[in-house]
């Protein structure tokens, strides 16, 4: 049995994986003070102690630059700078100290088109309101245990939108577009890792984005 955050972080060899929440620093950006309080209370329950708050996207960006949090949790609909714009500002390469910071979009906009829009802005995980402790925990676990590589193209900068790697897929590389498409064969090393698994830190890039857990309800791609 492999690492599976959805099954209590238990590994088959009897080793438990734990997250030291007290060492994680969060930034919660939401214009609704009740929601900020709820999220803060949940994070406190997880064991987190350093939780910074901001009431709009502009204040969120300032807090992000000032506190350098490990994880950002942001609402979508906010005055001045909304959560989508905040994400885009954070994801500007070279504009911030850490454009790779994991961002959880916590939003009441749960329509598929919105989730795709958030994903394309560079959001790491999407969490639909109403918030639940288990769902928030799962998103944080996913971020900590399964960090995804980043992709930079002419029009996108953010976490790899591909959640799954099909080890049998050897067809055209759609990321390269219809015209520039080329067939990327699976390399022997990648094939070996994809089929055999192994410690994440030893896997090559393509394999490190493999999720062994069921696809979450969050951002996809």
């Amino acid at each position: 049995m492999g690492l599976d955050p959805r099954e209590g972080s238990v590994r088959g060899d009897g080793i438990m994986i734990r997250i030291e929440f007290h060492r994680l620093r969060f930034l919660v950006v939401d214009d609704n003070m009740h929601m900020r309080r709820i999220v803060r209370q949940l994070l406190h329950g997880f064991g987190s102690r350093e939780i910074f708050e901001a009431e709009d996207g502009a204040a969120g960006l300032e807090a992000f630059n000032g506190h350098n949090p490990d994880i950002v949790i942001t609402d979508w609909a906010m005055p001045i700078l909304d959560g989508l714009e905040l994400t885009q500002m954070i994801r500007k390469p070279d504009a911030n100290a850490n454009p790779y910071v994991p961002i959880i979009m916590l939003s009441g906009h749960s329509e598929k088109s919105r989730v795709m829009q958030a994903r394309d802005a560079g959001v790491t995980e999407f969490l639909a309101k109403p918030i639940a402790a288990k769902a928030l925990y799962e998103r944080i676990l996913s971020i900590v245990l399964n960090p995804r590589p980043f992709i930079r193209t002419a029009t996108f900068f953010g976490p790899d939108r591909r959640r799954n790697v099909n080890p049998n897929y050897t067809g055209p590389e759609r990321r390269k577009g219809k015209e520039g498409g080329e067939t990327i064969p699976v390399t022997p090393l990648a094939s070996q890792v994809l089929h055999a698994g192994g410690p994440a830190e030893q896997r090559p890039m393509a394999a490190s984005s493999v999720r062994r857990t069921p696809r979450s309800a969050g951002a996809t791609g």
């Binding site: 490990d70 070279d94 109403p130 980043f150």
Partner: protein, 199 residues
């Protein structure tokens, strides 16, 4: 000198994109233990317990969310259904849609969700009958005032279903064939009504 995450990231360039492996900054918070127990469930249970500690505040929070919605409705009444006024109603309803269930009022959240749906999908929200919007605001207020916490409350459920029927019928009439694109997300399956004039 400590390198920044950007300096530590490993890049692999392809013809039209670059793949970047940022430093795994959070790796240090992962620990391994042989202790027995369901750590994940313990953590979630602790968080839920922490949330319960502030439960006594939820009713007043919900009331203030309702007041914000009523204020937006009153502004719409006095100024007419301008795009700005409708946007304020929509935003206030959106807040309730997102928070009400956590605050113990899931039915209020569901009613707010259909109001959001109505204002989001109506081709011209300014043509939405004001009485329909007002009905939603009043229903949310009533659910909170009467402390209806269960989505199976008989009266509350009936109100929700009636409002859903009104909204879905309106949207199906206004959207025509395009209604099929959003019908799947309707909270209740509603038979699309035919447009007046046989369209």
């Amino acid at each position: 000198m400590v390198k920044s995450p950007i300096q530590q990231a490993e890049e692999t360039k392809f013809s039209d994109h670059t793949m970047i492996v940022p430093p795994h900054r959070l790796k240090s918070v992962i620990t391994h233990t042989t202790e027995q127990g369901d750590f994940a469930m313990d953590v979630v249970a602790r968080a839920e317990a922490a949330l319960s500690e502030i439960k006594h505040e939820f009713r007043s929070w919900m009331s203030s969310e309702c007041e914000a919605l009523e204020a937006a409705r009153n502004e719409m009444r006095s100024q007419g259904p301008s795009a700005e006024a409708l946007q304020k109603v929509s935003l206030a309803a959106h807040e309730i849609k997102g928070h009400a269930a956590v605050l113990g009022f899931p039915l209020a959240g569901r009613i707010a969700a259909i109001l959001c749906r109505l204002l989001a999908y109506a081709p011209n929200p300014q043509l939405v009958p004001l009485a329909v919007i007002e009905s939603h605001v009043d229903a949310i207020r009533a659910v909170v005032r009467e402390q209806i916490h269960s989505i199976n409350d008989k009266t509350g459920k009936e109100i929700f279903e009636r409002l859903t029927l009104i909204v879905e019928t309106f949207l199906s009439q206004e959207l025509g064939e395009a209604y099929a694109n959003i019908a799947g997300d309707a909270p209740l399956a509603v038979q699309p009504a035919k447009r007046a004039g046989g369209k």
